[in-house]
Each structure stands twice: as structure tokens, then as C-alpha cells.
Symmetry: C2
Subunit: 271 residues, 2 copies
Amino acid sequence: MEKFTRNKRVVAITKILLESPNKILGLNRFSELLNAAKSTISEDIVVVREVLEKLKMGRVETIAGVAGGIKYIPQSGEEEKKDFALEICRQLSDDGRVIPGNIIYMTDLMYNPKIISKAGVMLSSCFQGKEVNYVITVETKGIPLAYEVARNLGVQLVIARRDSQVTEGPTVTINYVSGSNGRLQQMSLSKKSMKPSSKCIFIDDFMKGGGTAIGIKDLLKEFDSELVGIGVLVDNKQIEKKLIDEYVSIVELKAVDKSAIIGIQPSKIFS
Amino acid sequence: MEKFTRNKRVVAITKILLESPNKILGLNRFSELLNAAKSTISEDIVVVREVLEKLKMGRVETIAGVAGGIKYIPQSGEEEKKDFALEICRQLSDDGRVIPGNIIYMTDLMYNPKIISKAGVMLSSCFQGKEVNYVITVETKGIPLAYEVARNLGVQLVIARRDSQVTEGPTVTINYVSGSNGRLQQMSLSKKSMKPSSKCIFIDDFMKGGGTAIGIKDLLKEFDSELVGIGVLVDNKQIEKKLIDEYVSIVELKAVDKSAIIGIQPSKIFS
């Protein structure tokens, strides 16, 4: 079997680590694939760790013990986060985005893999260390972002539906009141989708009054589970009184009127 | 500014390439970040290319010219694809998945980043070279998979909705007939979501009669755009007469009854 040089081994190790964020990978796997001793792989990992840290591209942790190995934790540098938040502001500041009802059209951003993959890393790093079991969202616009946060945290995604579906088996349905317009809404989640006593993060595109977040909290109670964090791309600051207070956002929106978007800026933690 | 050794440069180059699949990246970017001459970076790229090809982890192409650079094309090896398709079969063959209506519960797989990221690479590689502009899906279950295919092809995701939404601006709505039960259904797409004369790939979780695919085809006509490929995770072979004939699937389902799933196997191209 072919031997690889260190140059080549570190490429393969980097690829495998990046594809399994927040998962513990045993050194055996690398050792077998690359036909190298575990001590050699350990030295390779030092190289990978050093350059990723130096360039603020993420952390590589070593986990000791029988079930030990290494774990890649996606992260971005402070400058990169700030630049990204500013770029989102720039893109959202376009007049052409205001649609009837003083709503900002932002579906293109929410479905743009280039943007969502970066936003996913940024939001996931806010919940690192919370021992999250699931990332939850309500269909539809927040799904790609929630997926990316789940992928980066190495956990399963769960999606609450507006209607219960035949393909979901038995479901739990709750009613909740929209925080912005007071209207009664519904969401459903399959009984099969979550184990009890789980810790969940709620991810969405937009935070208005916080009604949906309260809905998610109530829904999770039905699964004997807990909401331990909330993250959104855009926080609408026009609604000052929110139903919840703890959440993170990437940008903040101050005002929208028919002709223009006024005051969109990076959120405090990313500025 | 610090200089990096080749060992370290190849780690950084690998990370950047993997994060922008199917995008042309100029060598300047690497040269500046790593404080190295372009000729040095070119040699680094040879190392990255060789090991990724050797281990069947993807291809690195060089694009000549002013707008040139390098492009990473995600791929998986034949063995890996086969193992993955078999693993999906194994997971779906569980009796506990059969829910009333002889439906297989597969939401957990569709929302599992570990599975969907691999399936996304496999399906995207079937459409490589088709010069795709968008990946389209209909809400909800296929969204993570469609997102991964879009990410791997380096294009925008587009999601048709069941109802038109206020947040989408002007929409085009079409009616279509479900291929399996003949019922009339609706889907809507924002006028803002797609440029005319685009080539699109339709990605979904499940192929039954092909009615949804016909619906997507009709919807795309309204955008003067074209459907150039279809990919699904599971092809339901119980319905023999499909409304469409060209599509790729990862696994094929032969029969389901109340107590068990009979005959699920990798699709021909992955076996």
C-alpha cells in the first residue's frame, strides 16, 4: 500500500475533518486510510491545528480516552465576521428589496449557499459548548440556515411544519400567537423526530415579535425538551417589545419604508 | 508578514477550496493570504490535486486565462457511493418506518446533515458539466438535499412554495396533477427568484409518479427556463408508469406493506 508524504497526509486529514464538524474522529481512521502510524498522524494533526488557528479558520481539539480522537470546530475570525455582517447589510440596503407591506425581500440571500454556509458557521459558533442535541426551525425560509447550523454543530436538524403531513406519522400540533400581528398560528412536529430530554437551538431567517420562538418553546415542552438558544440572520428592531430576550442575530434592521431601507447594521456581537 | 511552510499552505488551500465548490478561485487570493509567490502556490495545488484524486476525494481543475484560477469539484469514489447507497437501504429497511398508508417515514434521513451532505455530493456529480444555473425544489422535505446539491454545484437554490407568500413579492403560480393519486396541486415561485433562460436541476426526496417534476417543468416554462436534470434520494418503483423518464436516484424501493419493506436496493448507477 502506498505511503503518503506529510504534505499529502495533511490535505486528506483537513478534508476529512472539515466534512465532519463537531464529531470526534478516532486516529485509527486516518492511520488506516493514510497507511501511517498513529504517532505520525498525531504530528500531522499538529500541523493542521496550527495553521487553522493561525488563519482563524477553526479549532482542532484533541479528546483523550478510549472514545477519543480529534474534533474540528468551525470558527471564523473577528474581522471576517464583521466583513460578512457588513456585506449582508450592503446587500439588504437595496431599495428594490422593499415589497408591499414594507417587507424586505431576502429569500435570495436565505437560499444562497455562499452566504448561508458562512452565516451557519457564525451562528453555530455562538452555541458551541451548549451540548445541543437538535437544531429546530419552522418551514420554510430558515431551513437552509438551520441545516448549516446543524451540520456545523454535528447534530440532527428538525423542521416543524405549518400543517401536519401524512408522511410524518403521528404529530404533535400546537397553536401560538404571532408576536407582530397577534394572529393565531399552528405548527406541527412528528413524534418520531426527537428524543425526550433534548436540548435544542431554534434558527430562523427573521426575528420580529418573537411569537414563533415562544411557539417553538411550547412545542419543545410537549417533547419534554428544552430551548437553549435562538439565532436569526436579521433582527427587526422596529418591534421593540419582544416576547423573548435572549437570542443572537447577525444584522439588525431599524426601519423600512416604501422607498428605502433605513438603518441596517451589524449586530453588536459582530461589529 | 509570516511565511508558511508547504505543509501549512496546503492545509489552508484545501480548506478554502472545499468551502467554495465549483467556483473559480484566482491564485492571487492564496498568494496574498499565504504570503507566497504564485509559482509556489501552483506547486502547492499540484500536491492538493494529487492526493484528492488518489483518495477519490474530488478533482481540482485549473482554468487558464485572465479570469482563470482553480476550481474544486466534489466527487466520491465508486466504492464509497455503493457503500453509502447500501447504508441508506439498511436504514430504510427498518419495519418501524412503515406508517399508515404504507408510507415510509424518512424525514430523519432527509434532515440528517451527515447523510444529506454525502447524498448531495453524489447527486451533484451526476449533473457536473451541465452548466446549471439553479437547483430547484418544492418545500419541504427535499430542501436540505437540494441545498447541498446547489452548494456543491456552486449555484443558487430556489424553492417553490405550496402557497404564495407575502414575503416573496409577485409570484407565478401553476397547477399540476399528482402522478400517483391524480389530485390537483399548486406551486408558486417568486418572480424575483430566477433570471430567464436558466438551466435548472430539480431535487426531491422521493419520486413517485413524476407529477411534481412535470409541475416544476411547467413552472420553469413560465420563467423561460429549462429543466435539465432531476435527482432524488428514493425512487418508488411500485409506480411503474412515470410521467417522466430521465432522472437519477440513489436507492430504489420495490414494495412496502403494512409489516415490512420489501426490496430496497441501490439504484443501478450506484451499485
